[in-house]
Subunit: 295 residues, 4 copies
């Protein structure tokens, strides 16, 4: 790895202090920093600082400064170029950032010494096919594709298919199709299981379904999932929405069909050899009720 | 009971066929029908035909023709006048209608013979107090008061108090405060328990909470519950909503506090003596997996 | 309050160090200690040291040294005498103990100054009626009455009735009937809601039911619940058990009916005026995923 | 396919009526029936009639007459010989039987015409390693491996590892490790997700865990899962058990480690080309609450 990009969430590193520190350290170690802080400061985007496509192409590694949201945002842009990502966590502890702010330089040193592995994370590609046959390529996501009701409407009617076979018709608040990476995000809140992120699977989790028998269904990473808008109770505009990673959204119409499948590209996470998912899981969502431990 | 009102959901009895049949039968049995079909047909309201307040006052009993939604709608209007309700189900089988269409006249005959009991159903009164101290009386509901996110936002931050004591702060899609009657509606879909409708309790159920430890909490019917909007992620208009029975809605702002308590009035349901809630429950949501019964 | 009993779980205060300290402090404050440490040390029972009935009668207040299990154990013995209880927690933090070991004397001082309230906790009385009509009074419990399969059998068939009306027939691992106090114990693990402990209700929670539509049902404290053993798959001895508070157990036979209702007596907990249930709940089972809080 | 075995659950075909009918039909179609009814009738085993190993070896196809339990029982015996299975359902509708009794001959006709596919179902191999290093090969299962408490004990302490990495320590009633086939059985009752049975995954589902944050975890079919008995509250004999498919059981001791992994052999189900899992799922556990469908 010679050329390092740095993508900073300005709201979490307002004066580019951390960005500059890392850039300087990389240059001191004879690496090329693709995005200089000057470039960063001239950026218009005040949420996540995104270099343009040309720059992504020359990066051997992208260092993302921010939280899980920043990493997910960047992952969608970088995946097509297969640029490995190192997340430096400037927010609350996340599932995707590999390193806390204070340990950033130590970890970069390990990476320069090649003490890392690349973990491939499955992504979802999404397209929207409307009833007249028009198709929109809605982009790819690292976490999930979510179809929900909007506004004052409460219930929507959705049908879900796997490889063209009907799973069921649901009256619900919505439907989540999640990657293993996304299984610890919204799907978990809606009652879904945790999927080991090294696998390629999808979990389909209904949100507040009317039927008490509706459950999360785990399908293969090779399957193609369709979520179709069967009915909208109130005919108001914007009553049904699809969002990718909770960051990109589209309004849907009756009979729109969302086609979700394994994306051609992976998010490549740089992982230290001694980190593992289950340790992170215990730290993040485990909450042992030691005090309830019976005598 | 001498004076009977008839409140018809026009979409379920489009030509007032059933309405007229019942009105005639009542008149043939020497009862007074407060709402004539002429009055009904001149109504502007094309969803549920609502007589005005003066007419409610003279009713001894209101016959509601429609589904559970119609009964809930009518219950909110009639409760203040303490008019007993008989629901005649013109839709799919519901929890509140006492009688199916085909049995309507038989059941009315029993009612005229006084073979019934009145079941009081707890209702919720709701007010919205904004950060500047303004208060809106948002009305009463028979099922539930629901605070949810709207539009593209996903997570809202809500705090919940009981009698002024903080229960918890939730990052969630929303919060449901339900009566026993409403416990088999939205709260059940969100994972809540079933409350016997003859009791006076409230169940507070978070919708897709971030914290996996958040659970439904059942409090006394004497308690006062507050749901406060602590934060809205995206500052767009209409991001948080409160709805009563899924039928009346208001947009909320940051720091708005919803005050929910036992309403002064009850919905009075006319029940035949041989009907009971658990039989209905088994029929409505029970779904015995006989075939999974092990040998 | 003049006469104080002290009931110590010897395994948590092996040398009676804390017991003696409290006894001396009470005597220094001119109170009578009903159970002297000499009495305690002569006890045969090496789990929870229980004075005999005569002594309970003269106690104005019982100080329980141990954990929640010790308090529950003592509560069953003391309830009939209506002796107020102060739990001093010698274990991991519990729901019932009012005070941690280190604060014990401070809290006792407040109690002598009458800065407390008595909180009445509903208890359950349980009897077992066998198919030949024999009845066993199985005792009272503060937490729950649980019917479960035992040994290698997995599924049992249970019917549940409220006031003689069938709720449903369940194929399940078992059934929990819990007080509000017990709602944060086993019922919670099995998916039940939390009930405010100041109320009088019961929650009926099936354990791993076959039917996905089976849910917790909350009934009034005035209701009488029956759990009947309909069938046992494997006819081996001891295949179905009933346990009260997880501490007292009986083996059941086919057609045995467990009758559960509000007990005549309450557990009287001495509570400091500034403590409340929801604060305890947040501390005990709340586990805020601050780090999952989105930007 | 020339040589057909017939394995009959005698309790479901007491006079071998169906068994003889199928045997005759096969012989009329010039096929060899490996197990004659004479052989069956001489069997000692009065639950599921099992031919000996020699006979399994010559079968090209095994026709199982019974319910899902019979098929699971037979599957464990046949897997090592890779004999394709056709389940003829003599019980309540099941997930594994391909054909109902009345359609049996029609389906066999299709099978003779080669209108079928073979669906491979993942199985689990299980061994028990005791603290002194002894290992027992506990056999293979098609549904699940379950570690549970037995008798009057309630809570056991179990640790779960995947590929040698600790997932977590659980205080619970038990732990289920399930195949995709088993995901619609006990794991579902305990709150687990549904896994498409054509995939190779395992789902680890805790039973009534103390910690509210414990959730089902889905791992790859290549992973090796360990469940270790960390502690047993009451030291009585038989307090912890492991069962395979709910049919084979062993008592466990403290520190015993159950090693669970993808078995070397598959259960080979003969499936008609037009049957699919999701249709079956809707029929079996779906229970649409049409009547709750809002207007």
């Amino acid at each position: 790895m010679e050329n390092f990009g740095i993508l900073t969430n300005r709201s979490k590193d307002p004066d580019f202090e951390m960005t500059k520190l890392i850039a300087k350290w990389l240059e001191d170690n004879n690496k090329t920093v693709v995005l200089t802080t000057e470039l960063l400061e001239s950026s218009e985007d005040n949420k996540v600082n995104m270099a343009d496509e040309a720059l992504y192409k020359v990066m051997d590694c992208a260092i993302i400064l921010g939280g899980d949201g920043t990493i997910i945002h960047s992952a969608r842009k970088l995946a097509v170029h297969e640029v490995p990502i190192v997340g430096v966590n400037l927010g609350t502890v996340g599932f995707l950032a590999e390193v806390e702010k204070k340990d950033a330089l130590n970890v970069l040193e390990k990476i320069l010494s090649e003490e890392y592995v690349i973990e491939n994370r499955m992504m979802l590609s999404t397209s929207i096919i409307s009833s007249n046959g028009n198709m929109i390529n809605a982009g790819i996501g690292l976490n999930d594709v979510v179809v929900t009701r909007g506004g004052f409407s409460r219930i929507i009617e959705l049908s879900v298919y796997v490889n063209g076979q009907l799973i069921d018709i649901y009256y619900a608040d919505g439907m989540i199709v999640s990657t293993p990476t996304g299984s610890t995000a919204y799907s978990l809140s809606a009652g879904g299981p945790i999927l080991n992120p090294a696998t390629e699977m999808m979990v389909i989790t209904p949100i507040c379904p009317h039927s008490l028998t509706a459950r999360s269904i785990v399908v293969s990473g090779e399957d193609e999932v369709w979520v179709k808008v069967e009915d909208i109770r109130n005919k108001e505009d914007g009553d049904v929405l699809v969002t990718i990673d909770g960051q990109i959204g589209y309004k849907l119409n009756k009979n729109d069909k969302i086609v979700i499948k394994n994306a051609a590209h992976k998010t490549k996470l740089v992982k230290l050899k001694d980190n593992n998912f289950y340790t992170l899981l215990r730290k993040k969502i485990g909450c042992h009720l030691k005090e309830r431990k019976p005598k």
